[in-house]
Symmetry: C2
Subunit: 302 residues, 2 copies
């Protein structure tokens, strides 16, 4: 009930991040969040379950890239830059499950530039959403993917691991798709925003640990500062598809990777990034499997 | 065609801000953006037109507060903390118009805890929205206000000066309310997100200068870190009511002021803040007056 999602860009992609949440856990994000940092590229991004323990999931990726000669050339060999972000899934299934080396090796072995699996896979295996009434009233989260392309312009995709405290809503219609239920037995959504607005300071939330981790990937040619701006615009996808985003217990962040193959305006990338992130979040819960532990969207409609 | 909006909290309100845009102009935001800064309160907030020149609009407010004995007690007299943020309106009407001392004195003289005027008043006098096709295809922006209260809980209000590059949309229905028009003569909206997605790198935007400045005001008792968290949640109001928020040319920011009179959960304040900001943005353009220079929402419906 945990896992890892690996995004490979071994030749290096211009990388930036905006880390805004209040419960993040990251590794090697230094160059992504500091505009003046020497390094401007990343060679892979790892999203992992396992909370803080998941930060070790980067190790096999770093080793693989090094063995293949990919990384930042230091003049004393290459040092791969593999920014890694984790989410808390220890409360779903066996709390001793960790995304260790075998899981990461499997992710590397099955890596593809083709169709991407969504739902309760990879970093989304143990992810949950809608925890305003506690984990027992939550629903299954997951990993979502969406890709948009402009004719003659850039392609912009988003991979999002959705482990939000809040609910997931359709960004266009505003209707809730998945989220906190009224009671552990109920299949009726309580509306997290309503629940949270009614909770006085006396209400104590058992700390569940939540986060939505979004990675925007594009073939556009943009600078590191441009990639950072795309992160800002892409945050709109979180706000539109999560109700709410960025609660006290959410560690939300956005990473942008740009391979620089297609000329594009930053606004083209930013507009598509927001939309891709918004769609990927909805897809993550629509394709989730609750493994008999928690209901998923597919259980609501059946 | 410029103006100033003054928010007075002379006894001091716990204050924090999140400055995320890429075209901001501020004064005395140091303590609001740094959690470890010595000062934790503000005694007024000033929103002003006039671009960088508008930063002097704080002077009469500082003088008034000092003369009345309000401010941070340094042991050598009081120093009022008056964070000030400006917007660019020099391209609307006379570009030499500045929000000078007479305008600020008028704002102070007419300050009220009663009904607040919205539309093309105060800092919103020269504000515009929807500039993806250039200023000549824009519509009138303004200042909006919305207040929400929970029975037995906190009241949360938002004052927002809306001078966005993007369009304004209804946050619930997704329908565009005001924004960039197809041509200078047209009254038909072009959809800024569509326009921006089609603009290649060769498209040069004349720099218009844009920003949406949001101030959240609450009677809730929350810490400075809590107020900062409210800023993060309130940014959802910008993303939901602006399409898009945070373009390359937007200097968007959120300030939160808390007077500490009512016990409240940070989530209560954050949920209401997002909603108040979203509603205030729509109200700003719905009540705007184009002064015969640009169309306003009221001209679309007539």
């Amino acid at each position: 009930m945990t896992g890892v999602t690996v995004i490979l860009c071994p030749e290096g992609a211009t990388a930036a991040a905006e880390v805004r949440g209040t419960a993040t856990g990251t590794r090697q994000f230094d160059s992504l969040v500091q505009p003046h940092h020497l390094a401007s590229k990343a060679h892979a991004v790892v999203l992992a379950g396992g909370s803080g323990f998941g930060l070790s999931a980067a190790d096999p990726v770093v080793a693989r890239l090094e063995s293949e000669g990919y990384g930042f050339d230091t003049g004393r060999g290459v040092v791969p830059l593999v920014p890694t972000a984790i989410l808390f899934d220890l409360a779903f299934g066996d709390q001793t499950a960790r995304p260790g080396a075998p899981l990461v090796e499997e992710a590397l072995a099955t890596a593809t530039d083709g169709r991407v699996a969504c739902g309760s896979v990879g970093a989304g295996t143990g992810a949950t959403v809608g925890k305003a009434n506690g984990l027992e009233c939550a629903m299954k989260g997951g990993v979502g993917f969406a890709s948009l392309a402009l004719p003659g312009g850039p392609t912009v995709a988003a991979a999002v691991a959705v482990n939000a405290f809040g609910d997931v809503r359709d960004p266009d219609e505003g209707r809730l798709v998945a989220g906190c239920r009224l009671t552990p037995e109920s299949m009726e959504l309580a509306d997290a925003r309503r629940v949270m607005a009614s909770q006085t300071p006396a209400v104590e939330h058992p700390w569940e640990g939540n986060t939505t981790l979004a990675v925007v990937m594009t073939d556009a040619s943009i600078s590191k500062l441009g990639a950072r701006k795309v992160c800002e615009m892409a945050f709109g996808g979180l706000y539109r598809s999560l109700a709410p985003a960025l609660s006290l217990y959410d560690g939300d962040l956005v990473v942008t990777l740009a391979t620089g193959r297609v000329e594009a305006h930053i606004h083209q990338v930013g507009i598509l990034a927001e939309e891709a992130v918004a769609r990927a979040i909805v897809r993550a819960v629509r394709e989730a499997d609750g493994f008999g532990i928690l209901p998923a969207v597919c259980d609501l409609s059946s």
